[in-house]
């Protein structure tokens, strides 16, 4: 008996020691984790911070080695210049309108397709779904040339006698959105289909029993159930549409849209300088000045997206599991 008494104590001591050690260990892991998160966040935010800080500087500030983040003589001149060069208000309104229309149409078309693929058993369903996935794998560049030429000489597959030029109009984009073949629409169809598949069949059956037709059931019952997924796909469609520069530069190069405006800052600036130099004297465009302007332009470009993101952050980040993308 006495033996056991003495043997318990050291064990108890080591247990408390171990617990303490475990606590220290856990604390260390926690600190390490926070350090890593902070480091990664820094790398992600660095480009944005650099641009924001430089966009308030004069060119002289950038050459000054003592100036790092905070400009010595803050100026809004860069923003004024870029605002003018980008024709910002015009580009903003155009881009907003186009992106809103296109993403609304895309979500509508993708929802219909996804519902058809998820809840019906018609012949050729499997094939159609395979094709949806296939559209995702083909880089748009494969389709680029024919698409461009078809829209340049648009004749509705030979119906129109005289082809019309749809390049530099928003119609090609709107057509493609309306039919769910826009940018990454296959992904939206996939997400929404997963979501529809997860709904119980009783919902539809109850609606049918109550006398609702197929379409009434769809928009009055089923659509309500997938609102979160609709929000997510809409947000993604909007962001991707906003950033999209490939189709924009291919099919709408002359329209006043944000990507076009952003990418043409350098050329427009050089031109304005050339005009100025004709009257005032020779002026040179330095790469540093250009990158300040580009930086200011990029800030103006992402601000609407950041506002949207700040408002809808929860929907972006926390809803992927609910959209049924996984599993």
């Amino acid at each position: 008996m006495a033996d056991r008494d003495t043997s318990i104590r050291p064990i108890a001591r080591t247990v408390t020691q171990r617990l303490r050690l475990a606590r220290v260990w856990r604390w260390l892991i926690h600190v390490g984790m926070l350090a890593i998160v902070a480091g990664v966040s820094y790398i992600i935010l660095l480009p944005l911070l650099t641009k924001v800080s430089a966009s308030w500087m004069t060119e002289g500030d950038l050459y000054d080695a003592a100036v790092r983040w905070i400009p010595r003589s803050p100026t809004v001149e860069n923003y004024q210049t870029v605002w003018r060069l980008m024709n910002y208000p015009r580009a903003l309104v155009n881009s907003l309108g186009l992106a809103l229309c296109a993403s609304a149409l895309q979500v509508a078309a993708c929802t219909l397709t996804a519902y058809g693929l998820a809840r019906f058993n018609f012949r050729g369903k499997g094939l159609l779904f395979t094709l949806v996935i296939f559209t995702l794998m083909v880089p748009p560049q494969v389709l680029m040339t024919p698409l461009y030429l078809n829209f340049r000489y648009f004749n509705m597959l030979g119906i129109l006698r005289k082809p019309i030029n749809l390049v530099n109009t928003p119609y090609p984009l709107l057509f493609m959105s309306l039919t769910g073949t826009g940018l990454r629409n296959g992904l939206f169809i996939y997400i929404l289909r997963q979501f529809f598949r997860g709904l119980p069949t009783e919902l539809e059956e109850a609606a049918y029993v109550d006398g609702a037709g197929l379409f009434r059931t769809f928009y009055a019952i089923m659509l309500r159930q997938v609102t979160p997924a609709l929000v997510v796909t809409f947000l993604f469609a909007f962001v991707w549409q906003w950033n999209e520069s490939f189709y924009t530069s291919l099919l709408m190069p002359q329209l006043e849209l944000m990507p076009n405006a952003l990418l043409s800052i350098a050329a427009r600036y050089a031109e304005s300088q050339k005009l100025a130099s004709a009257t005032v004297g020779p002026a040179t465009v330095t790469p540093l000045m250009l990158s300040i302007l580009d930086g200011a332009g990029m800030v103006l470009y992402v601000v609407p997206l950041l506002v949207l993101f700040a408002l809808m952050q929860r929907h972006f980040v926390e809803s992927v599991e609910r959209t049924g993308l996984v599993g």
Binding site: I44, F120, P146, T179, V317
Partner: protein, 300 residues
């Protein structure tokens, strides 16, 4: 008798027709804006495309465009190989990092919501036009060089250590590459992190509880429960990453495809390039999927 007969017959048919109506918009779009250009693109790659009054016409040239692209074009083959190699190198890094980041963001700590938002930011910000511009932006290069300067120091410390461990040279090189590419990898991982995070959250808590009762360590819990259950998503993410890097707007081959139209070689050569490129991606994806899908664990 007739009405009931009609009703009974048409119930399934009605549903089928309904289904067709729902997928009709996409089907039309698929034929007009995907299948038709897709086939045209094959034809373009086998022809010379001539712009004529009010349209264009094709002159069949066989495999001329392909032989031009492979044999005569100065940079295409080199660019293609470089793109494929770069993708092969970066995909494992992106997968490992995004898995790691997802595990981090799945832990409980203060400011987790903010951290998740920040990790997701690149999806919104470094895409399309912004990314295109950053490639040529002088100031961005400076800033990135500064950031890389810090990490290069880490590399220098690590090299003697790794050499003393007698690690193979390609491995050391790869680690150095990883350190140099840290920023790019992090910025290409947004969606992948999200997908892994969703996967981690869908692992049933009961499994962890059972493991705790059995006295499993954190290490064992990770390798026996978390990793196998999330592993199917490795395949998903791999496919996503490969497609993402191959269709990205700053890709050199794709830029070449676009600029070739403007140079003398014309539409046919551009289409041929696009097809060679597409075939390469397809082959690569098929091989990768064949390798990975066998090692992935499926619950059902």
């Amino acid at each position: 008798m007739r009405p009931t007969n009609r009703l009974r017959l048409s119930l399934q048919q009605k549903r089928d027709i309904g289904g067709y109506v729902f997928v009709l918009p996409f089907t039309i779009g698929f034929v007009l804006f995907f299948l038709y250009p897709f086939i045209q693109s094959i034809m373009f790659s086998l022809s010379e495309v001539k712009l004529v009054q009010g349209g264009f016409e094709l002159v069949y040239k066989g495999l001329d465009n392909y032989s031009y692209v492979f044999l005569k074009h100065g940079t295409f083959v080199r660019d293609l190989v470089e793109t494929v190699l770069a993708t092969l190198k970066s995909v494992p890094l992106i997968l490992v990092f995004s898995f790691f980041a997802a595990c981090l963001l799945n832990q409980k700590f203060r400011g987790r919501g903010v951290a998740r938002a920040i990790f997701f930011l690149p999806v919104i910000m470094s895409a399309g036009a912004v990314l295109q511009l950053e490639q040529v932006n002088y100031m961005m290069e400076l800033a990135m060089a500064q950031a890389a300067g810090g990490t290069a120091g880490v590399g220098e410390i690590l090299v003697p250590f790794m050499q003393s461990l007698r690690l193979p040279k390609f491995f050391i090189d790869y680690i150095l590459y990883a350190i140099a590419e840290v920023a790019g990898v992090i910025r290409a991982s947004g969606i992948q992190i999200l997908i892994f995070l969703a996967g981690l959250q869908s692992v049933p808590a009961s499994l962890y509880e059972a493991a705790d009762v059995e006295g499993a360590t954190g290490w064992e819990r990770f390798w026996m429960i978390t990793f196998p259950l999330v592993s199917p998503l490795i395949l998903t993410n791999m496919v996503y990453t490969v497609i993402d890097s191959f269709t990205g707007s700053t890709n050199t081959v794709l830029t070449l495809v676009r600029t070739t139209i403007l140079t003398g070689a014309g539409f046919g050569a551009s289409a041929a390039m696009a097809w060679v490129y597409f075939a390469t991606i397809g082959a690569m994806l098929a091989v990768m999927m064949a390798i990975v899908s066998k090692r992935v664990f499926y619950q059902r």
